[in-house]
């Protein structure tokens, strides 16, 4: 009886406390995000439509006109989307069977997860340096190609889109594979076992049961890789050797040339093109 009475007596004070608690708890995150995230993004959008040397005078859409009519910018956008498409398709092709092996052969699961996540905790610069060594003109990959197809078959990976795509797939494969594996695992063992009991062979289980039921995760992973690839700065900066100028690299070049309005306009173009994709790929992810 006494505890029940205490609980009832507790309600009004806790409600009043709660009304006070919400703003107090919200204070740190708002103090971080409003001045350091929202304000900078709004200013960037303002500068992209501003006139003058620093983009704070008047109002003009000229920069977007320049970006969207200049063959150099459009060519760069084309290369960026081409590399992103190849990366997404390549990651999908490699990740699908790998996720299926992880699902069907639990003994291999930890080895594969370790190999996927291990490189992620090591600096991306180290991984790119490794790929520079592997793909150089006299590196192991070209030595292997020369051994099989002869010396004249050696390829220039570094400074061309092929090297960028190979390295980009290596960098982003973990994201695709883990997204696909998670959605395959959520099917549950009962469904695949039922298919086997009813006489389906492993290929049929994969094609007719696992693939359709994990289609959502597969799509999410592929779109995520596309968006991450199209906005990656560091991979083309190292592997492109100055000859593959993707859109994010143009943004950096304009910013370091102190041409801020042009950089802001390029950034807004990238944002408008890719934000819907990123939002799509993270939709349904719930933290609470």
């Amino acid at each position: 009886m006494t505890t029940a009475a205490a609980a009832i007596a507790d309600v009004p004070t806790s409600r009043a406390e709660k009304r006070l608690l919400v703003p107090v708890l919200a204070l740190p995150v708002l103090a971080l995000l409003l001045p350091c995230l929202v304000a900078p993004l709004l200013l960037m959008i303002r500068i992209s439509v501003g006139g003058g040397r620093i983009g704070l005078d008047g109002f003009t859409f000229d920069r977007f006109g320049e970006v969207l009519s200049d063959p150099y910018y459009l060519g760069s956008l084309g290369v960026t989307l081409f590399i992103a498409l190849l990366t997404a398709l390549g990651s999908l092709a490699l990740a699908l069977p790998l996720a299926y092996v992880m699902l069907r052969q639990p003994r291999w699961r930890m080895v594969i997860i370790g190999s996927l996540i291990g490189p992620l905790v090591i600096s991306v610069v180290v991984r790119l340096y490794g790929w520079q060594l592997l793909l150089s003109e006299s590196g192991p990959v070209n030595n292997l190609i020369a051994l099989v197809f002869g010396d004249e078959a050696r390829m220039m990976f570094i400074g061309s889109w092929s090297g960028v795509v190979i390295t980009m797939i290596h960098t982003l494969l973990p994201y695709a594979c883990i997204a696909i594996f998670n959605s395959m695992q959520s099917i549950g063992p009962g469904v695949t076992e039922a298919a086997q009991t009813l006489g389906a062979n492993p290929w049929q289980v994969f094609l007719k049961v696992v693939l359709p039921l994990s289609a959502r995760g597969i799509a999410t992973g592929t779109v995520l890789v596309f968006a991450l690839s199209a906005t990656s700065f560091i991979v083309p900066a190292v592997m492109g050797a100055g000859r593959v100028n993707t859109f994010p690299m143009l943004i950096y070049q304009q910013a370091t040339a102190l041409n801020f309005p042009a950089a802001a306009a390029l950034a807004v173009v990238l944002l408008v093109l890719l934000l819907p994709l990123s939002a799509l790929s993270t939709r349904g992810r719930d933290i609470a």
Partner: protein, 262 residues
């Protein structure tokens, strides 16, 4: 099918690990040019690394930034997780979307926006603090996700029991929720630290005159040098990563990563 799967898994593990293996092999080379396999073996690149004051300064600078950013990320993520998981209020979904938005925003955009804001909005010079804020924005959503999901799994029941038994809500949170979530908080700290330590894009845009983070210094060296000098510091970072993976596997913290980065 089983054999094919195993063969495929072996090839993929080779693909995933080969760039790291090749760096470690090269670091023991004795020649000043890059050759595979190396023509001879030595520890000269490690000797050079020990004497390299620039690399040492960059390493210390990176550790400092990552340390400060991680502590700040945890201090902000904890109350935010309590707010988003335990309270229902108007604007909750909006706040959550805003807090997680750096995950969706391309890092280059975030970096450019911060640079423009500091130069043309606030008119402040780049400093260790502006760089730390940039890192904080990138790592904060990871901390928030890991801690929020731990708090969701824990549920409010244990704390409510503590309050019923006479503890104040703050005391119940400190003595019950925090210890119960300690593994997740540790994982959040670890990954925040790594993502800050490894960050290149933000550090490059917001570079502080006279101070260069380790990844940015290595990025510049990767584009300019043509000898194995970068391989020794890279191998040290690979060793650190391997030790970290062993620790993560030992304490079964993989689940946290897999879920946070999906």
């Amino acid at each position: 099918m089983r054999g094919v799967g195993r063969l495929y898994a072996c090839l993929m593990v080779l693909f995933l690990l080969s760039p790291l293996v090749v760096v470690v092999i090269l670091s023991f080379s004795s020649t000043s040019f890059i050759a595979f396999p190396p023509r001879g073996w030595s520890l000269r690149w490690y000797e050079q690394l020990v004497e390299d004051t620039q690399i040492r300064e960059s390493l210390l600078f990176s550790l400092q930034i990552a340390g400060i950013a991680t502590v700040l990320a945890l201090l902000i993520a904890l109350p935010t997780a309590v707010l988003l998981v335990r309270h229902r209020f108007r604007g909750r979904n909006m706040l959550r979307a805003l807090a997680l938005s750096p995950l969706v925003l391309p890092e280059v955009l975030l970096a450019l926006a911060l640079l423009l804001y500091m130069q043309n909005g606030l008119h402040i010079r780049p400093s260790i603090w502006t760089l730390t804020v940039g890192h904080l924005l990138v790592i904060f959503p990871f901390s928030l996700q890991l801690i929020s999901s731990a708090m969701g799994d824990l549920g409010p029941e244990l704390e409510e029991a503590g309050i019923t038994l006479g503890a104040t809500p703050a005391r119940a949170f400190w003595l019950i929720a925090i210890p119960a979530m300690l593994p997740s908080i540790a994982a959040a700290a670890l990954f925040s630290f790594i993502f800050s330590f490894d960050n290149v894009a933000i550090s490059l845009f917001l570079s502080v005159p006279g101070h260069v983070t380790l990844p940015v210094r290595m990025f510049e060296l990767a584009n300019t040098t043509n000898d194995p000098s970068l391989s020794s510091i890279s191998s040290v970072l690979i060793l650190a990563g391997a030790i970290l993976m062993a620790v993560l596997g030992r304490f079964k913290l993989f689940d946290g990563v897999v879920n946070a980065r999906q």
